[in-house]
């Protein structure tokens, strides 16, 4: 009986653990990320198929601003560093640095999204609307979906900072930060692929 009580107390404080001894939350997150590969795989392959289909409007090579997108990519890459530093701080129970790195990560993410909004606006002004061509549709869908993922990540980061300040994070704090970190890094690796396949490889 005592064993069961302790086991339940353990589960409540640490997130339920499976028979493998691993956290169910973490297993679920990795499974979710594996399934997200299929979502982005579909969007990327659709873009690859349609990037040459330009009946009207600008061509990909004429519209992309590689120096600007390179800076955006660098910003997102560095946000992965600040995220892993936040996870590391959380594991050391260093709350001050954890909050600091989470806020810096959210700011870098917001900079990336701001850059994407600027890019979309300038493309639209140059004549590339969502329905201008198959290239435009597939480009905006792919990069837009990625931008939404980054925005959701920013909301999760800011919610985490707010909940941590009010001491309202349930269970193991380090694990919660790590799970959000996994999502954030996933968004970064998707951009690594998009940056190469969409921007650097000409149509």
């Amino acid at each position: 009986m005592a064993e069961t009580a302790i086991s339940h107390a353990h589960d409540a404080g640490h997130g339920a653990h499976s028979s493998t001894g691993l956290s169910n939350n973490k297993l679920g997150m990795w499974m979710f990320l594996g399934s997200e590969c299929l979502l982005f795989g579909g969007l990327i392959s659709t873009y690859m198929l349609y990037k040459g289909r330009v009946n009207s409007g600008p061509q990909p090579n004429n519209i992309f601003d590689i120096p600007f997108t390179s800076v955006s990519s660098f910003v997102l890459l560095m946000s992965s560093l600040t995220m892993v530093l936040a996870v590391s701080s959380a594991q050391r129970k260093d709350e001050r640095n954890m909050n600091l790195w989470l806020i810096v990560t959210a700011l870098l993410g917001a900079t990336f999204v701001g850059g994407q909004v600027y890019e979309f606006t300038s493309f639209y002004r140059e004549g590339l609307g969502f329905t201008t061509s198959l290239f435009g549709s597939s480009f905006y869908t792919l990069t837009g979906f990625h931008g939404v993922h980054v925005s959701v990540g920013i909301i999760m980061l800011m919610a985490l900072v707010g909940m941590n300040r009010n001491n309202r994070i349930p269970g193991d704090r380090a694990e919660v930060v790590e799970l959000i970190g996994l999502y954030w890094h996933f968004v970064d690796i998707v951009w690594i692929v998009i940056f190469t396949l969409v921007y650097l490889i000409p149509s």
Binding site: S7, T20, L22, L81, V87, H185, I189, L200
Partner: protein
């Protein structure tokens, strides 16, 4: 009761567990990733000739695996997480390569 004690010890050991690299090592990894990104961007300005596509694909793969292994801790974590993630990734690659092949995408590019 001994099982309960073992359970508590396991929990404490789990909490104390700190897998991964040190902060300094994470910064080194980020610097390597930044350098690889710089090489990627240089392919836009410098003519790599026949090495253009292989260079980009190799750099992309190295960056991807580095982030997954070190920043996402897959290198240090339980292998089950690796299998879960890479099985999803490999399934996606297989499905969409098949999808692109049905549209003769590779023949057009080749």
């Amino acid at each position: 009761m001994s099982t309960a004690t073992e359970h508590i010890e396991h929990t404490e050991g789990h909490e104390a567990e700190h897998h991964g690299l040190s902060d300094k090592q994470y910064i080194y990894v980020a610097l390597i990733l930044a350098a690889l990104t710089a090489i990627e961007v240089s392919t836009y300005y410098v003519d790599f000739g026949p090495f253009f596509m292989p260079t980009l694909f190799i750099l992309m793969t190295v960056k991807f695996v580095t982030v997954v292994s070190y920043f996402m801790h897959l290198k240090f974590d339980n292998k089950l997480f690796t299998y879960l993630f890479y099985s999803g990734l490999l399934l996606a690659i297989a499905v969409y390569c098949g999808f692109l092949a049905t549209f003769k995408f590779f023949l057009q590019k080749g």
